[in-house]
Assembly symmetry: C2
Homo-oligomer: 206 residues x 2
């Protein structure tokens, strides 16, 4: 940024927006200028939300989902209507939101806090796997759904957890994985080979 | 946003990010989650910059560029080394930064505050044109560079200002426009017809 051409407060704001992921110089300028031109109330709203965020949110000690700082455990775990004997294991907190939005799942969640990725320096010891096993035993879980991403990292993480669960010798536990296949709205000719292979192998009788 | 799956502070932050231009639900989630995972200091930096922005920045009463609230006029206008007899007329404050970054211009600026656009409800009376004419007279300007955008709105604005300047009957004033032609790095075959027409008509002898 050429600072002499812009007031200091504005170039500070541009720099601060530029620290967000994937935000380059032009986007940061656009955000800053829109904020300046826009409603003062909106700027204050974002400012307040940012100032509060780190002290208002913590990890649930049981499921490692993000929860309000004044809550003890995740409301999705505490809720008596949710089935604790079915646990969906996901990589990141927002994956919980994605599954919740389907309104199809009445079990509980366990957030790993990432996926095994040697390139990014993430090993299995950084994920909440021992806590998962302890919890499955306590809650007498019947089914673990390994709902990690359909990426190389997600697949290896699922495989690793599957082995750990087998070694842990939990009684009568079913380990499942989300179905692989064609996503809605995709033409066969544009589907990649691996997806199509999964779709073929996983075909169902009507 | 399904709020029950996320702590309130986090969904507030997502909503606030979502108010930025061009930021949809997924991007807002990504910004919020990155902020939460990231350094507390960075969140505070953005928070502070946002809280200050509206009270720290104002428009220069002479050039309508953005300036610090404690400055009287734009430093680019006040600077005795800048030539007040050459004025570049631009649409928006960031256009000043773009021209400054070339390090080729030693004149001064005049920010119109937009371009004539009937669709967006912007008429010539909303632009700082009377102030421009007053200023050109006061500073005995020799050259006005109409540096509006190469868009339909920018072209009509330039044409309108040109007529106003002719009617104002300023003495010995030269009205110029930024050159149109091929941008650097573009192959002839990919250039659009209008650009190529401009490039042909504006060809220069070597």
């Amino acid at each position: 940024m050429n600072n002499s051409a812009l007031p200091r407060a504005l170039s500070n704001l541009i720099d601060a927006f530029g620290a967000l992921p994937g935000v380059g110089a032009r986007t940061a300028e656009r955000y800053a200028y829109a904020t300046l031109k826009g409603d003062h109330g909106k700027a204050v709203q974002l400012s307040t939300a940012l100032a509060k965020i780190h002290n208002s949110v913590k990890l649930c000690p049981k499921t490692f989902a993000l929860i309000d700082a004044d809550e003890e455990v995740s409301p999705l775990y505490a809720d008596p209507e949710r089935d604790r004997t079915v646990v969906a294991v996901v990589e990141e907190p927002f994956d919980v939101v994605a599954i919740e939005n389907t309104h199809q799942f009445k079990g509980t969640y366990h957030v790993l806090g990432g996926a095994i990725s040697p390139i990014d320096g993430v090993g299995p010891e950084q994920l909440h796997i021992p806590e998962l096993i302890r919890r499955l035993r306590e809650d007498k879980t019947r089914e673990v759904i390994l709902a990690t991403n359909a990426s190389v990292e997600g697949e290896s993480t699922a495989l690793y957890i599957q082995k750990q669960l087998e070694e842990a010798d939990l009684e009568d536990i079913k380990i499942t994985r989300l179905a692989r296949g064609l996503p809605i709205g995709v033409d066969l000719e544009y589907a990649d080979q691996i997806t199509l292979t999964h779709a073929l192998n996983g075909r169902r009788e009507l």
